[in-house]
């Protein structure tokens, strides 16, 4: 009898010792990131990647999702569609990634959308959504609608200025083109007239021709749409030409805006996301949502711009919420759960997805800001 008790106790001890190892040995949940870590999207996508990794670490610190730790697999698509197809394929077939939270290279995500549809693996994106209906089914985005950035600027011009004629200066990227279309359509709603639409290339070193055309057409303000160093170029050209015009730029890294504000002073405004103006936000769910991200972000990256990273964070948190809602890691169930996510408080706003709406931000989260005495100030 005694012998049996000893054996039973030994067996129980073995099970007790082995149990945590069995639980700990549960396979990690792999999230793939196809990001343009080199090439034109590098600034944005490196920040996105860092936000994704930060979110995964935060989830893992709380025990993971449904008992599984998150493992982030990042591959550089070099901001090229062909390379994106290769890295998506690698992550699908070699790394066995189960969901994607991918960066802002739209063409790369479009090119790989068919692969993901066939593999039944959903993707949460930084970029705009693919246009093919069968591809769209498997794609979701954290990107607010293109019109939000434009509307915020038109609203300001209508309410706070006497300017009624405006110019649009945009680069040829898909998101910038979408915004340009919105500006053309919506200007009249705000009592404004678009008198000049000019395009530039991201590597243009001079925009004085486009700005001169806008000025001679009678524009009192320029809506600049696009990322990169051209914002500073535009500001310098406005000053060199002695043009009495406001420059209102789209969402961008805050580091770009300091020198622009030095050139144009109080004639410069920019669209800012909530995480960029955290200190100016009123207490509430949005501020609390941003704080959850911003505390570890600032601890690790100090005063680096949080905008793109905050949406990467949202991408992971949305995926975790969808998995918990679906109570499954299965791709098809995860896709369906994304479509049912409602009222999810992220760092950029509240996400409300629907089967017919895969762009979850439905209320305009942006503010218009300027820089005064080196500090960001919300004006609208």
């Amino acid at each position: 009898m005694m012998k049996h008790k000893v054996i039973a106790a030994g067996f129980a001890a073995c099970v007790a010792l082995a149990a945590p190892q069995i639980a700990g040995a549960q396979e990690a949940y792999k999230i793939g990131v196809s990001a343009g870590l080199t090439g034109y999207a590098a600034t944005v996508d490196r920040a996105w990647r860092d936000g994704v990794e930060l979110a995964a670490a935060a989830v893992n610190a709380k025990g993971g999702v449904m008992g599984r730790k998150i493992q982030v697999v990042v591959e550089d698509n070099r901001s090229e569609p062909q390379e994106a197809v290769t890295v998506y394929r690698k992550m699908l077939s070699s790394d066995k990634v189960e969901a994607f939270v991918s960066g802002c290279v739209s063409a790369g995500n479009f090119a790989a959308a068919g692969l993901l549809q066939r593999a039944k693996v959903p993707m949460m994106l930084c970029s705009i959504l693919p246009t093919q209906p069968e591809h769209l089914q498997w794609a979701f985005t954290t990107l607010p609608p293109a019109g939000f950035e434009v509307d915020k600027r038109l609203e300001y011009l209508k309410e706070k200025t006497q300017i009624r004629k405006i110019a649009v200066l945009h680069d040829p990227t898909p998101y910038a083109n979408l915004q340009k279309g919105v500006a053309e359509r919506n200007a009249a709603k705000y009592g404004l007239e678009v008198v000049s639409i000019e395009q530039y290339k991201q590597d243009d070193a001079d925009l004085s021709v486009q700005i001169s055309k806008a000025r001679s057409a009678g524009a009192g303000a320029i809506l600049k749409i696009g990322l990169g160093g051209t914002t500073l170029t535009a500001a310098k050209n406005i000053k060199q030409l002695g043009a009495d015009m406001l420059l209102l730029t789209s969402l961008e890294d805050l580091a770009v805006f300091g020198p622009v504000a030095e050139v144009l002073g109080d004639k410069f405004f920019f669209v800012a996301s909530p995480s960029q103006v955290y200190e100016a936000l009123p207490e509430g769910a949005l501020k609390a949502g941003i704080k959850a991200f911003l505390d570890p972000w600032r601890e690790k990256f100090r005063d680096r711009d949080p905008n793109w990273a905050s949406r990467g964070w949202d991408g992971v948190m949305l995926t975790v919420a969808a998995i918990e809602q679906a109570k499954s890691f299965d791709g098809e169930k995860l896709r369906a759960a994304y479509e049912e996510l409602k009222g999810f408080q992220g760092t950029t706003g509240v996400y409300n997805f629907r089967p017919d709406l895969h762009q979850g931000i439905t209320d305009n989260p942006f503010v218009l800001a300027t820089i005064q005495d080196g500090k960001v100030k919300v004006v609208q």
């Binding site: 080199t38 591959e75 550089d76 901001s79 090229e80 569609p81 062909q82 197809v85 290769t86 394929r89 690698k90 699908l92 077939s93 070699s94 739209s106 063409a107 479009f110 090119a111 959308a113 068919g114 693919p130 246009t131 093919q132 591809h135 040829p172 990227t173 898909p174 083109n177």
Partner: protein
């Protein structure tokens, strides 16, 4: 009296086994990709598409010793004609591809007639401009190309209602096309046309003195090269199902030049070997993460130091490139 190889029949040389090694290497790589599928199949598929492009480039640059930095323009024409006709107008891939190649060859004729009067650096600059202009058109002509948004929903290649959608199916199709292209290149090289190109490559003045219509042969090589580029462009859009301007940008020029020189310019097997090596090397070093480009660059430098005439030339019988 010296008898020029350009006016005599080529001598028959015994088949040497060492000369088959590049083909054996290609066969092993393609066979492995077919066996494994997935990621490997995707990488090798892209390599085979590039092999078609580089085979064409080799006709112009290797066989005729001319320079062109603008062949990506013809790949863009082939790719976009195929994409627009199939995705927007519902054409079948085969007729769309044929029309794309015809359009590219026609464009090459219009461009090549004046451009090929240039020589050396001027020809290089002129052809570079062609590539840049084509890129700008694909970006700006948004009503047709949809600019950077690109064109999605391009059907996979297929004939008579049968679509080739599987990795292995596409690999088989691409392998057959590459084999046909290599065979064509080998035949061209040994033909009267190929010998004329060889004479032009040696010295245009000497070729002219021999009665070779240099301008005509250069133009024909340019047209053939454009046809191969258009075929590659069309294959790309049907394999991936998507096209946007970046696909045919300056990056394509750099990659294909690297493939041509690493593989062996002027050789028949060089384009395929170069395409495979240059496609596989970065993937081999992918685990190096941020140092991937460093390792890749170092490997390329080593290759060019130890095989300055390209890898395929290492296996060519002495005296033949």
């Amino acid at each position: 009296m010296t008898i020029s190889p350009s006016i005599t029949s080529p001598e028959r040389r015994p088949l040497r086994l060492v000369g088959l090694l590049p083909w054996l290497f290609a066969g092993v790589v393609i066979g492995y990709a077919m066996l494994v599928g997935g990621y490997a199949a995707t990488v090798v598929s892209f390599a085979l598409i590039y092999a078609v492009f580089v085979t064409g480039l080799n006709l112009f640059m290797g066989f005729a010793a001319q320079v062109s930095f603008g062949q990506n323009a013809f790949a863009a024409i082939g790719g976009y004609v195929s994409a627009v006709l199939t995705a927007t107008y519902g054409w079948g891939p085969l007729p769309a591809m044929v029309l794309g190649m015809s359009a590219a060859v026609a464009a090459a004729a219009v461009i090549g007639f004046p451009a090929l009067r240039l020589k050396g650096h001027y020809l290089a600059m002129g052809t570079l401009a062609i590539g840049l202009i084509a890129y700008e058109i694909t970006v700006e002509w948004q009503s047709v190309t949809q600019g950077y948004m690109g064109i999605s929903g391009i059907p996979p290649f297929g004939i008579a209602g049968y679509e080739i959608t599987s990795d292995r199916g596409q690999l088989v199709m691409l392998s057959l096309i590459v084999a046909a292209c290599a065979f064509a290149a080998a035949r061209i090289r040994r033909s009267r046309f190929g010998r004329a190109l060889s004479a032009v490559a040696g010295s245009e003045e000497a070729a002219l003195a021999l009665g070779i219509d240099v301008s005509r042969y250069k133009l024909m090589a340019f047209l053939l090269s454009a046809g191969f580029a258009a075929l590659a462009g069309s294959l790309f859009v049907h394999v991936v199902g998507f096209v946007s301007p970046e696909v045919f940008g300056l990056h394509m020029v750099i990659v294909t030049f690297t493939m041509l020189y690493v593989g062996g310019i002027g050789t028949v097997a060089g384009p395929l070997i170069g395409a495979l090596i240059v496609s596989l090397l970065p993937e081999t070093f992918r685990a190096f993460k941020d140092y991937q480009d460093l390792a890749y660059g170092a490997a390329l430098i080593l290759l060019l130091i130890y095989a300055p005439r390209g890898l395929a030339s290492l296996f060519a019988p002495r005296g033949r490139s």
